[in-house]
């Protein structure tokens, strides 16, 4: 079959729409949750951090904690959920892979695309709500935010391809991955600002690509960009390289999935 080895956009969009609908199909309100859930989550964070913890941002005087968190939190959630969801796509679709020949990389890729689509709709709703509740957002910053989110999705897709292919051979990955993602979450300045890191750790943590994404997203939407640095070049290149490496690894292993599923 000649169409087996190629990227097939028809199958891809079928899988993406199936992925999105699986999450909302059984709900009474259906797709309304796509917007409602992020807003409820925002309300929860506002209550917990502003009222219970009384969290304050020391350096960013003009910005409340909730916008500070929200702007970084949704992209992270999309990134982390995409990888965790995509990880199981090959093993959980064993029956399909064993019966139908199609480009199997579409399974993890569609999981990433679906997760990002859903969370970006939520992100937009959250940003609108922040604006309505009095946060002064730099809407022009979206010019930078959109390509950055695309890069983030590319980074996630690369990692998702690697994880889903490795999962076939190393079943322990499903157990290791969630703690790894949690560790990554707390070592990325999402709940805190990178300025709050101990001086001894800051030089190490600055190499975290997610730290670059998070701080640049905040700057684009809340405070305006600081000076350009080495990471502005390194992280986009790294993200694209991750995707290339992910494809290479996946294609090398793809022909043998069926033997190990």
């Amino acid at each position: 079959m000649r169409n087996v080895k190629r990227f097939n956009s028809v199958i891809f969009f079928q899988l993406v729409s199936r992925n999105i609908r699986t999450d909302y199909l059984e709900n009474v309100t259906g797709f309304a949750w796509l917007i409602l859930q992020p807003l409820l989550m925002l309300a929860v964070y506002a209550f917990v951090f502003s009222t219970l913890f009384q969290a304050r941002m020391p350096e960013a005087a003009g910005v409340g904690f909730v916008p500070f968190l929200a702007v970084a939190f949704w992209p992270w959630t999309a990134f982390s959920e995409a990888i965790l969801k995509a990880n199981a796509t090959i093993t959980s679709n064993a029956a399909l892979i064993g019966k139908v020949a199609f480009p199997t990389e579409l399974l993890p890729l569609s999981a990433v695309a679906a997760t990002f689509t859903m969370h970006m709709i939520g992100y937009l709703a959250v940003l609108l709500m922040l604006q309505l509740t009095g946060t002064d957002l730099h809407w022009l910053g979206l010019i930078w935010v959109i390509p950055m989110l695309l890069l983030l999705a590319i980074f996630a897709a690369g990692l998702a391809l690697m994880a889903s292919a490795l999962q076939v051979f190393i079943r322990d990955l499903a157990q290791i991955l969630p703690p790894i993602m949690t560790f990554w979450f707390f070592t990325t300045p999402i709940l805190y600002s990178s300025a709050m890191l101990p001086a001894s750790l800051a030089p190490i943590f600055q190499w975290n690509p997610m730290a670059w994404y998070v701080s640049r997203l905040r700057e684009a939407l809340l405070s305006g960009f600081s000076t350009l640095g080495l990471m502005d070049l390194l992280v986009p290149v790294l993200s694209v390289l991750t995707l290339i490496l992910g494809f290479w690894l996946f294609r090398r292993l793809r022909g043998h999935f069926e033997d190990f599923l």
């Binding site: 079959m1 087996v4 199958i11 199936r18 199909l25 019966k99 139908v100 051979f169 190990f260």
Partner: protein, 412 residues
């Protein structure tokens, strides 16, 4: 020069051993280095064949011979460990009709998914959707989730999408056995018209009838090797003959075991009046007489059981001495002789076996078995294996005048 549709060259397939997670890891490390671990189970060994345009091909073989693996290699689901596979035409596989169906989604959604997997574009699907729904014939159920479908409905929908995908080569594996009578008929009709259009079929089946009916050439897979390939009739007949002899030797083994452990046994068994060397031949309507001597260590008369079976083991008739209240003739303290005669044998021409069994005196347990093959010769064109007495009525049943022909007859 016409190119073959499918060219399989020297294909071998090893399934890696993954009993232990560490083996999985080792195999993975080997794959990363670009090598393949070849010390697993070899499921296919050096299989080569070609399918030419307009030709249909059958694959036969025992369970576990590697047929399904070969199909998976052909459809591209798995890659061969060695050798190469070239498939030129647009193919569709009817391996498992419900494959790719997700139970929570409606029939319509699943049709869209399956159609995309089969390479149909959304525009093509829109065009063919009516045909698909008409072929599947499941009515309003298309809007229901597939989990509420009966297995027959899943199969109908699956076949309908495959049929609509307009393949040039259809690969199918025993799926036509599912679905009800009328749907099966529909599928066979569809396959026949599909073949008439000059398309090809690759059929894996245990039904030699179907293989002979639909295929031109065939491949006999045995233990992962191409045991024989060529004309469909030669291959299927050799395959059937092999099966028969295998079943035969198994039976003999079983009988030897039974004989060794039995207390009562057969010391001689002979067909009378037909003691030709080699094959024993009777004319249709001859009588068949058999004599058997049984040994009884305790001096009680064992029960004799005689049976006639067809060459393939189908029982035709059996009778035991105790059914008829017969006691054998005592030859000496431990030996009894039984003789039975079947006059005017009603068997139709063909190959049969006569079996003698020695049972314990209670007639409960078979202790020993002996059998002799014989052939019935004749010119009869009657069907089956036994001639039932019959008579044709000499007065024809009057047919009412042409005017009042039954209605249902004229409908078609």
């Amino acid at each position: 020069m016409t190119l073959p549709l499918v060219k399989v060259e020297g294909v071998s397939k090893f399934y890696p051993r993954v009993h232990h997670p560490w083996e999985r890891l080792r195999a993975f490390a080997a794959l990363l280095r670009g090598k393949e671990n070849l010390n697993g189970a070899e499921v296919l060994h050096d299989v080569s064949f070609e399918i030419m345009p307009g030709e249909s091909y059958g694959i036969v073989g025992e369970n576990g011979a590697g047929k399904s693996t070969l199909l998976k290699v052909l459809t591209g689901v798995i890659s061969p460990s060695r050798g190469s596979v070239t498939v030129r035409p647009r193919i569709a596989a009817l391996l498992e009709l419900g494959a790719g169906f997700q139970p929570d989604f409606s029939g319509l959604d699943n049709v869209r998914m399956k159609a995309s997997l089969l390479g149909m574009s959304p525009a093509q699907l829109d065009q063919r959707m009516d045909d698909i729904l008409a072929f599947a014939d499941i009515g309003e159920y298309v809007h229901e989730p597939v989990k509420h479908y009966s297995s027959g409905m899943v199969v109908r929908l699956g076949f309908a999408v495959v049929a609509a995908s307009d393949p040039e080569l259809l690969i199918t594996d025993e799926v036509l056995a599912v679905g009800d009578e009328s749907f099966q008929k529909k599928c066979i009709h569809w396959i026949e018209s599909f073949l008439q259009k000059g398309n090809s079929l690759l059929l894996v089946s245990h039904s030699m009838f179907l293989v002979q009916k639909l295929c031109h050439r065939a491949l006999w897979l045995h233990n992962g090797r191409a045991h024989m390939q060529g004309d469909v009739f030669e291959v299927t007949q050799s395959y059937l003959a092999w099966h028969e002899s295998k079943a035969d030797s198994e039976r003999q083994q079983r009988e030897q075991l039974a004989g060794a452990s039995g207390l009562y046994r057969i010391s001689s068994f002979a067909m009378l009046d037909a003691d030709v060397k080699g094959e024993r031949v009777l004319e249709q309507g001859d009588s068949l007489e058999v004599s058997m001597t049984l040994v009884s260590p305790d001096g009680r008369a064992p029960v004799a059981l005689f049976g006639i079976v067809r060459a393939d083991g189908t029982p035709v008739y059996g009778v035991a001495s105790d059914f008829d209240g017969i006691q054998g003739v005592r030859i000496n303290a431990n030996q009894f002789q039984y003789r039975i005669r079947f006059p005017d044998l009603l068997l139709l021409p063909g190959s049969y076996s006569i079996r003698g069994h020695c049972m314990d005196p209670e007639g409960l347990r078979v202790c020993d078995t002996v059998e002799t093959r014989f052939r019935v010769r004749g010119q009869s064109r009657e069907l089956g294996f036994i001639r039932l007495p019959h008579e044709w009525s000499d007065r024809g049943i009057p047919i009412a005048g042409d005017v009042s022909r039954p209605k249902e007859g004229s409908g078609e």
